[in-house]
C-alpha cells in the first residue's frame, strides 16, 4: 500500500472517526436511547465503506462485530452497559491499530489474535441471547456492575420489582376471577413495562427480556387482539414466577451467597403455547454453558490484557457461585423489607399515644403518687422509660431521610441550569434529617417549584451578577427544630422587589392601602393564586399557578412558609412543618367549659393585652389591640362557636396570636391550660365540612379535645362576611 492510498484512507476515515469520538466515547454506558445508537452506527457504516473500498477486511470484520453488538443492544438482547463496553474496547483498539497501520506497520497478527479472543469472550455475553431462545434452559445472570450495587440502585430495583410482582400477582388473580376488569391488564402492563425499562437501564437483560415478552402479550390483550384464555394466565404466572426466581438469584449474587441457576425455559414454553408458534425445540442453538464466563463488562473496557485474562478464565470456567462470591468484595447489603399497610402503623402509633396518656394518668393518680413504697415508683419510672422509647421507635418507623428528595432535586437542578444557561452550584445541607413518610411523599413537588423559581427568577443570567460569583448558589437545607422540621431553599440571586410586588398586587386588586403593609405581608403575595411577576413566561416557571399550590401543600402538611428576601442579595424560603403529621405539639386552651387544642406551630405568641392597648370603633372599644405598633383584630372564640364564656373582657383573657393568609389575628380564649403532645385523629366524614376544626384527640383525662385550625377558622369567617 503506497503512502498516497494511506493518505486517502486517513482522509476518508477522519470524518467518521471524529463523529465516533463525539458520539461513542461520550455515550453514557448506562443510559442511551435508540437514537444514540443510530448516531454510533452511522459513522460505523461510513468506516465500513472505506475499509471495504480498500480491501481492509480485518477492520471491516471488527466493525461488523461492533454493529452486531449495537443491534443486540437495540433489540435488548444484551444490556447497554455490556454491549457498549465491548464496542468501546473493540473500537479503541481498532482505532489504534488503524493508525499504526496507516503509519506503515502492516502486521495485523496481534489484532487478529485480539479479535478472536474478544469474540470468544463475547460468546459468554451472547449466551444470554441463546439461552433466552432455548426452550429448556437454566441461566445464571451476570453480576450487575459494582457501582450500581454500591449506590443501592440494585437494592432499590430488587425491592421495586418484588413489590411490583406482588401487585401483578394480585391483579392476575383478581383478573382470573373477573376477566371483565380490563383496567387490571393495564396495571400489569405498566408494571411489566417498568420492570423491562429499569432492568434494561441497570443492565439485566434476562429480566428485561422476560418483562418485555410479557408486556408484548399484555399489549395485545389490551388492544383487544388477544383474549384472556387459560394459556395466557399460565404464561403470566410463569412470567411472575420466573422473574421472582431471577430476582432471588440476583439477591443471592449481590449478597455473595451460592447462586442457583434459574430455569427460564418454562416461561418460554408457556410463551410458545400462547403464541401458538410450533417452533421445533431442536431448531434452537445448542445450549451454551449456563454462565457467561467472566464476561464482566467493566473489565472489557479497560485494556486488552484484561480481556485476555478474562478469556483465559473462560477456558476453565469457574463455578458461577464461587465466582459471584469472589466478586462480592464490598458487596452492597440488601435489607429485607416488609411492606405493611400504612393504616396498621397509624393504628400502632395511635395506640402508643394512648398508652403514654394512660400511663401519665396512672403516675399522676393521687393514690399512686402518695404510695410510700419506693419500689412502686422505681417500677413506674422504668415503665415510663420503656413507654417513651417505644413511642420514639414507633414514630421512627415512618421516618426517612429527606436526602432522597434532595437528590431527586439535584438532578433537576442540573437540567434546569443547562436549560436556562445559568451556572448553578447546588449546596445540600442536612440530607440525613429524618422526616415522616407523608412529608417525603408530598414535599418534592413544592420544593421543586421553589428551586425552579430560584433558578428561573432568582439567579441572574451570567454577566448580570455584578460583584457576586458568576456561579449562582442555591442552597437546600434541612434541620430539626424541636418537634418540627425546617427546610430552607435559598439563593443568592436578585431577590424580591417589594415595589414591583406591590404594583402587581394592586393591579390584581389584592391591596387597598399599600402603605400599611409590612415587607412580610408583601412577600406573602407571591403565594396568592394567579400571581406572577415574571415578565416572560418561560417553560420553567412564571405562570403563577404554582406558588399557591406550594402554599396549600405545605399547609396540608400543617406547615408554614416564611419568605425573606433582600433586593440584589437573594431570597430564602423557609418551610416549617411538624415532624410527623399524626402527632403534634399543642396548646390546650379553655373557653367556657370547652377545651380546644391550638397547634403550637400556628401560635406566634400569647398575650394578655392591657386595657390601654385595646382599640376599636365607638361602642365597641375592644375590637382590636395594639401589638408592637400593629393593630390586631380580636376574634372571640366564644362568639364564633356560641359558647357561654367565663370572660368577655380581652384585658382579662388570653389572646393567642396567629397568622392566616398574610395577616395576624388574635384569638381570644379564657385561659391557657398546658402544652402537650397530641395524637391527631380525624373527626370523620360527618364533620369534614366544619370550618376551623382539623381533628380531635384524646386528652389526659380521657375526654376528647377538638383541634383548632386557625387558618380555616379565619377563612370561614371571611366567607361569612362576604356572603
Amino acid at each position: 500500500m503506497d503512502s498516497a492510498t494511506r493518505e486517502t484512507i486517513r482522509e476518508q476515515l477522519a470524518g467518521p472517526r471524529a463523529q465516533l469520538e463525539a458520539n461513542l466515547l461520550n455515550a453514557d454506558l448506562r443510559e442511551c436511547k435508540l437514537t444514540d445508537l443510530g448516531d454510533i452506527m452511522l459513522p460505523f457504516d461510513a468506516l465500513t465503506q472505506v475499509y471495504h473500498q480498500h480491501g481492509l477486511s480485518d477492520f471491516e470484520q471488527s466493525i461488523a462485530f461492533c454493529n452486531n453488538l449495537l443491534g443486540d443492544i437495540a433489540t435488548e438482547h444484551i444490556s447497554h452497559f455490556t454491549g457498549l463496553s465491548y464496542v468501546l474496547a473493540v473500537y479503541e483498539l481498532m482505532d489504534e491499530v488503524t493508525a499504526s497501520y496507516l503509519e506503515g506497520n502492516e502486521d495485523l497478527s496481534n489484532f487478529h489474535q485480539f479479535l478472536e479472543k474478544i469474540q470468544q469472550t463475547f460468546k459468554g455475553v451472547e449466551n444470554v441471547k441463546a439461552a433466552l431462545a432455548a426452550p429448556e434452559q437454566t441461566i445464571v445472570q451476570d453480576m450487575p456492575p459494582m457501582d450500581i450495587v454500591q449506590d443501592g440502585s440494585v437494592s432499590d430495583f430488587i425491592s421495586e420489582v418484588t413489590e411490583g410482582l406482588e401487585l401483578v400477582e394480585e391483579s392476575l388473580l383478581e383478573l382470573e376471577r373477573d376477566p371483565g376488569q380490563l383496567s387490571l391488564v393495564d396495571t400489569v402492563f405498566r408494571m411489566m413495562h417498568t420492570i423491562k425499562g429499569t432492568s434494561g437501564f441497570l443492565g439485566m437483560p434476562t429480566i428485561g427480556k422476560i418483562g418485555h415478552r410479557t408486556e408484548d402479550i399484555l399489549g395485545e390483550i389490551r388492544d383487544g387482539k388477544r383474549g384472556l384464555d387459560a394459556n395466557v394466565f399460565d404464561l403470566m404466572f410463569r412470567s411472575v414466577d420466573t422473574l421472582k426466581n431471577l430476582i432471588a438469584q440476583l439477591v443471592a449474587m449481590v449478597q455473595g451467597k451460592p447462586v442457583e441457576p434459574v430455569n427460564i425455559g418454562k416461561f418460554f414454553k408457556a410463551l410458545e403455547t400462547v403464541q401458538g408458534s410450533l417452533t421445533e425445540p431442536g431448531a434452537t442453538p445448542a445450549p451454551p454453558p449456563p454462565r457467561p464466563p467472566a464476561a464482566s463488562p467493566g473489565e472489557a473496557e479497560e485494556s486488552i490484557e484484561e480481556v485476555e485474562e478474562s478469556s483465559a478464565s473462560s477456558e476453565a470456567p469457574a463455578a458461577p457461585a464461587a465466582e459471584a462470591s469472589g466478586r462480592k468484595g464490598s458487596a452492597g447489603k440488601i435489607q429485607e423489607m416488609l411492606k405493611v399497610p400504612a393504616e396498621r402503623l397509624d393504628e400502632l402509633s395511635n395506640l402508643v399515644g394512648e398508652m403514654v396518656v394512660a400511663l401519665s394518668l396512672l403516675t399522676q393518680n393521687p393514690v399512686v403518687f402518695e404510695l410510700a413504697d419506693r419500689n412502686v415508683h422505681a417500677q413506674l419510672d422504668h415503665l415510663d422509660k420503656i413507654t417513651e422509647s417505644l413511642r420514639d421507635k414507633v414514630l421512627g418507623i415512618r421516618m426517612f431521610p429527606i436526602g432522597t428528595v434532595f437528590s431527586k432535586l439535584s438532578r433537576q437542578v442540573r437540567d434546569l441550569s443547562q436549560k436556562s444557561g445559568k451556572k448553578i452550584n447546588l449546596e445540600v445541607i442536612g440530607a440525613d434529617t429524618l422526616v415522616d413518610k407523608s412529608i417525603i411523599d408530598n414535599i418534592y413537588a413544592p420544593l421543586m417549584h421553589l428551586v425552579r423559581n430560584s433558578i428561573d427568577h432568582g439567579i441572574e443570567p451570567p454577566g448580570e451578577r455584578g460583584d457576586k460569583p458568576e456561579e449562582g448558589l442555591v442552597q437546600l437545607k434541612a434541620q430539626h427544630l424541636g418537634d418540627a422540621i425546617e427546610i430552607e431553599i435559598s439563593d443568592d440571586g436578585k431577590g424580591l422587589d417589594p415595589v414591583k410586588l406591590l404594583d402587581k398586587a394592586e393591579e390584581k386588586g389584592l391591596v387597598k392601602n399599600r402603605e400599611s403593609l409590612t415587607e412580610k405581608e408583601i412577600f406573602a403575595f407571591i403565594f396568592a393564586a394567579g400571581f406572577s411577576t415574571a415578565k416572560v413566561v418561560t417553560d420553567i416557571s412564571g405562570r403563577g399557578v404554582g406558588m399557591d399550590v406550594v402554599r396549600r401543600t405545605i399547609e396540608s402538611l400543617r406547615g408554614k412558609i416564611d419568605t425573606q428576601s433582600k433586593l440584589g442579595e437573594g431570597t430564602r424560603f423557609s418551610l416549617k412543618m411538624p415532624l410527623t403529621t399524626s402527632i403534634i405539639e399543642g396548646l390546650v386552651i379553655a373557653v367556657g367549659g370547652h377545651r380546644f387544642i391550638m397547634p403550637i406551630l400556628d401560635v406566634l405568641q400569647t398575650i394578655t393585652p392591657t386595657s390601654g392597648d385595646l382599640k376599636g370603633v365607638q361602642g365597641k372599644e375592644d375590637e382590636f389591640f395594639l401589638l408592637a405598633g400593629e393593630m390586631i383584630p380580636i376574634l372571640r372564640l366564644y362568639e364564633i362557636y356560641r359558647i357561654e364564656p367565663k370572660i368577655t373582657n380581652p384585658s382579662k383573657s388570653v389572646v393567642v396570636v396567629v397568622t392566616a393568609g398574610n395577616r395576624k389575628y388574635g384569638i381570644m380564649v379564657d385561659e391557657l391550660l398546658h402544652r402537650q403532645q397530641i395524637v391527631i385523629q380525624p373527626l370523620g366524614e360527618r364533620f369534614k365540612h366544619l370550618k376551623g376544626l382539623s381533628g380531635g384527640t384524646i386528652l389526659g383525662d380521657g375526654r376528647v379535645g377538638l383541634i383548632l385550625d386557625p387558618v380555616s377558622l379565619i377563612q370561614g369567617l371571611h366567607l361569612h362576611q362576604e356572603s
Binding site: G684, E685, H720
Partner: protein, 174 residues
C-alpha cells in the same frame, strides 16, 4: 318487602336490638348494632345541628354521638342512669346513638313484620323500615342508614351557617 327489610330477615335472621325512646319501643337490625355503652362525657362540637351531641372517646377512637330524641323531633331530656349509647356501624362509619332505655334482643318472624305503617306526626316516616307486632308490643324498626344519612346533617349545617352569616352581617352593621 323492600331490600332492607329482606336483609333484616336474611342477614340478621330477624333479630332486633330494641330500646325505648319516650314511650315507644324501637328496634334496629342486630347486625348494625356494634355495642352498647353507658353514658359518658360527650364533648360538644360547635357549628353542628342540635341532635349532634358531640364526640366521645370510645376506647381510643373518637366517634360522633347523636341524640335520637332530638333527631326524631322529640323534646330533649337530661340523660338518666338508664340512658345509654348504642354504637351502630353503617358502611364502616361508626356513630353512637343515645337512647333512653335498652330493652334487649328480640327475634321476629316475617309474618309479624309490617311495612310502611301510618304513624302520627311526631315521627319521620322516612326513618322507618317497618313495624313488628308481638303480643302487646309494637316495635318500630328503624332504617339506620336513613337516620344517619349525611345529607340531612349537611343541610342543617348549611342553615346553621346562614344564621352565622346573618349574625356576622348584623355585627358588621353595628
Amino acid at each position: 318487602m323492600g331490600d332492607k327489610a329482606k336483609q333484616l330477615f336474611e342477614d340478621s335472621g330477624g333479630k332486633l336490638l330494641t330500646f325505648i325512646i319516650g314511650n315507644q319501643e324501637y328496634g334496629i337490625q342486630i347486625l348494625e348494632a356494634r355495642e352498647v355503652v353507658g353514658m359518658m362525657p360527650i364533648e360538644p362540637v360547635p357549628q353542628t345541628p342540635k341532635f349532634m351531641k358531640g364526640v366521645i372517646n370510645l376506647r381510643g377512637s373518637i366517634i360522633p354521638v347523636i341524640d335520637l330524641r332530638t333527631k326524631f323531633g322529640m323534646e330533649a331530656k337530661e340523660a338518666t342512669a338508664e340512658s345509654c349509647i348504642v354504637k351502630v356501624d353503617i358502611k364502616g362509619r361508626a356513630t353512637g346513638c343515645i337512647v333512653d332505655f335498652l330493652v334487649g334482643v328480640v327475634t321476629i318472624d316475617a309474618k309479624e313484620f309490617e311495612e310502611s305503617p301510618e304513624l302520627g306526626h311526631n315521627i319521620h316516616t322516612d326513618f322507618i323500615l317497618g313495624m313488628a307486632k308481638l303480643d302487646k308490643r309494637v316495635i318500630i324498626i328503624l332504617d339506620m342508614e336513613a337516620v344517619l344519612s349525611n345529607d340531612e346533617l349537611l343541610e342543617i349545617h348549611e342553615n346553621h351557617q346562614t344564621v352565622e352569616a346573618t349574625k356576622a352581617e348584623a355585627s358588621a352593621a353595628e
